[in-house]
């Protein structure tokens, strides 16, 4: 029995050898570039030194984690991460919904296409370009916005080096880059709403606002709920490139987040074990949040992502 099953397995593998050859490069990628680094995480429990390697470095248990939690940096990173993400939840998240409601009401298809083409475009620009343009527009020296303020008789404003404004600038940038792009998923969901509902609504004398409120919004509610839950699942994540590029000496206290901290201490200063521990903390919390978010999404009767 056992032998025949083994034989069957071998004949299956022999039959599909071409498929295994196809899968091989991709599987090797995942093994080398995803699973080897997972093994590399053990250095967060060591005092890793490149000369001694992972096998030869001394073990120190949770020392790096204790050091991190006792460090005031921990509070700063956590506060900044939460502030940036809460602002994004409150100000960014509703905008694609609003914008897609507006786009959905446009009856002239050419006009709709033009507006869509414009608002989707910034999504494809790199953060380097977006931050570069931000500097051109907002710098205190000769930024266009400040020139305009001066021309209108106002004082110049230090948008880029003001601690109170940093989080707001990040939110505004994210809105410019991705609010348009975010409408795609809502528009797709709106397209699947039964047109008969609108006919019936019109018969009952519902105007456009009423139709939006009573038909379109309820129609996309499941999508809104699932995206909101997933967004909360990623509340520990802040885009590295955006923060790294926008950061400067004047705002570093409100700008530093987990990834920029790990980059600076790990890659720049060579504190490999400590920075890996910080990264591991972030990844574990992120993992728990994503799993929790998926469970929650399933409770709401949605499929979840996993």
């Amino acid at each position: 029995m056992g032998a025949s099953r083994l034989k069957q397995m071998w004949s299956g593998i022999a039959r599909d050898k071409f498929l295994y050859v196809l899968a091989l490069p991709g599987l090797l990628y995942f093994l080398i570039f995803k699973y080897v680094p997972m093994w590399g995480i053990v250095i967060s429990f060591q005092n890793y030194s490149p000369y001694q390697g992972v096998l030869g470095s001394p073990w120190v248990g949770f020392e790096h984690f204790q050091r991190f939690f006792a460090n005031p940096d921990f509070y700063t990173l956590f506060r900044n991460t939460m502030a940036i993400n809460v602002l994004s939840l409150v100000f960014f998240f509703p905008l694609p919904i609003l914008l897609s409601l507006m786009l959905n009401e446009v009856r002239t298809m050419v006009y709709k296409k033009i507006i869509q083409s414009i608002v989707y475009l910034p999504h494809f620009l790199s953060w380097v370009i977006i931050v570069g343009i931000t500097f051109l527009l907002f710098s205190t020296g000769d930024g266009a916005i400040n020139q305009l303020l001066v021309a209108l008789g106002f004082a110049k404003f230090d948008f880029l080096t003001n601690k109170n404004f940093f989080w707001g600038m990040l939110t505004a940038q994210s809105i410019w880059k991705d609010a348009g792009w975010g409408t795609i998923i809502f528009l797709a969901s709106m397209a699947s709403i039964d047109p008969q509902l609108y006919e019936a609504g019109k018969m009952d004398g519902a105007g456009r606002f009423r139709q939006m409120w009573h038909i379109t919004l309820p129609g996309i509610r499941p999508v809104i709920i699932i995206l909101l839950i997933l967004r909360i699942g990623h509340i520990m994540d802040v885009g590295f490139e955006q923060v790294f590029l926008m950061m400067n000496g004047a705002v570093s206290e409100v700008a530093d987040v987990f990834d920029t901290y790990v980059y600076r201490l790990g890659v720049k200063q060579g504190q490999f074990s400590y920075s890996t521990a910080v990264g591991l903390f972030k990844s574990v919390v992120g993992l728990l949040l994503v799993i929790g978010a998926n469970k929650l999404a399933k409770k709401f009767g949605e499929d979840g992502v996993y």
């Binding site: 071409f18 507006i115 570069g132 000769d142 920075s275």
Partner: protein, 300 residues
């Protein structure tokens, strides 16, 4: 009867007002989105000698290509464009090859071990080992300062593989079976049936890969110190953002030091050049937005 006509007339009138207000609001949003790009364009084409940085202009005082000519005459700029173009062409080709082969293999239900492979891929989308372990791996592989460090670590992704597998799932198995009856083996089924059918989908993934490679910044920050190997985005960062510390920015410092063109017009010309390839593929990207949004909404 007359009342009904009256009611519908009012609806059309309020409808019209609604449409106009909606269109105007959208136009304002469109202008707000478009203005920064337009302003970059204007500054980049301004004549260097008549451009005064402290004046707000909606059109160049005098049109000029000087900034572009200067940029294109510097080795550093041309070199970094070459580096990024290499990534966008070779990287995309390799990524597409690896992603599509693996996705196709695991989409065939008869393949033994596919459950384990899928689980292995899925886990990588859930848990991210952070920045340092991959950095140390790339270093141990002696890939620091190699162009391959910008391709191999991001060759494919769990999301893309699973998404593309979903696409291959939708190709009916009966097609493959009938080809087999006609005497095709696995290789010819793949080559004659699957590949032609999946070309449009591959094109979509290819475009998204190409944009990502063209915009490569973070991996270059981690893995490339040699400024002759820097991709365009890093050179741009040195020019646009890090100008104060450009002494360490090597190539950018070399470029910006000995010229009489105001840095602003030069910077904006660089932004325009870096954006043009994206604008060129944009119409093709638009056809595949829905797919891209699916990737984007679940990724990261």
């Amino acid at each position: 009867m007359s009342e009904q006509v009256h009611a519908s007339a009012i609806t059309t009138k309020s409808d019209r007002v609604f449409n106009i207000v909606n269109a105007v609001l959208l136009a304002i949003l469109g202008i707000i989105t478009f203005f920064p790009l337009y302003y970059v364009f204007v500054v980049s084409f301004s004549d260097p000698s008549s451009y005064i940085s402290s004046e707000f202009k909606l059109l160049p005082v005098k049109w000029s290509l000087a900034s572009y000519k200067y940029l294109m005459s510097t080795d550093a700029f041309i070199r970094s464009i070459g580096n990024s173009a290499f990534l966008a062409i070779i990287g995309t080709a390799l990524s597409l090859f690896v992603t599509s082969c693996l996705s196709y293999a695991i989409s065939r239900k008869r393949l033994q071990g596919r459950k384990i492979m899928m689980l292995m891929i899925l886990l990588t989308t859930l848990f991210n080992p952070g920045i340092i372990p991959p950095y140390l791996l790339v270093r141990d592989l002696h890939l620091i300062n190699s162009t391959w460090s910008l391709i191999l670590p991001v060759l494919t992704s769990g999301w893309y593989v699973l998404l593309m597998k979903g696409f291959f799932d939708s190709i009916p198995a009966s097609l493959e079976e009938s080809a087999r009856i006609d005497g095709c083996n696995d290789i010819s089924v793949w080559y004659r049936i699957i590949l032609p059918l999946s070309l449009p989908s591959l094109a979509a993934f290819g475009l998204f890969y190409a944009v990502a490679y063209w915009n490569t910044f973070f991996t270059a920050l981690l893995y490339i110190n040699d400024f002759t190997k820097q991709p365009l985005q890093v050179l741009l960062q040195n020019m646009l953002i890090d100008a104060s510390t450009a002494a360490g920015g090597g190539a950018a410092a070399e470029m910006m030091s000995e010229q009489r063109i105001p840095p602003e017009t030069l910077k904006m010309a660089a932004v325009v050049i870096a954006t043009v390839p994206i604008l060129l593929v944009y119409p093709f990207l638009q056809k595949h937005f829905a797919k891209g949004a699916m990737v984007g909404s679940v990724k990261e």
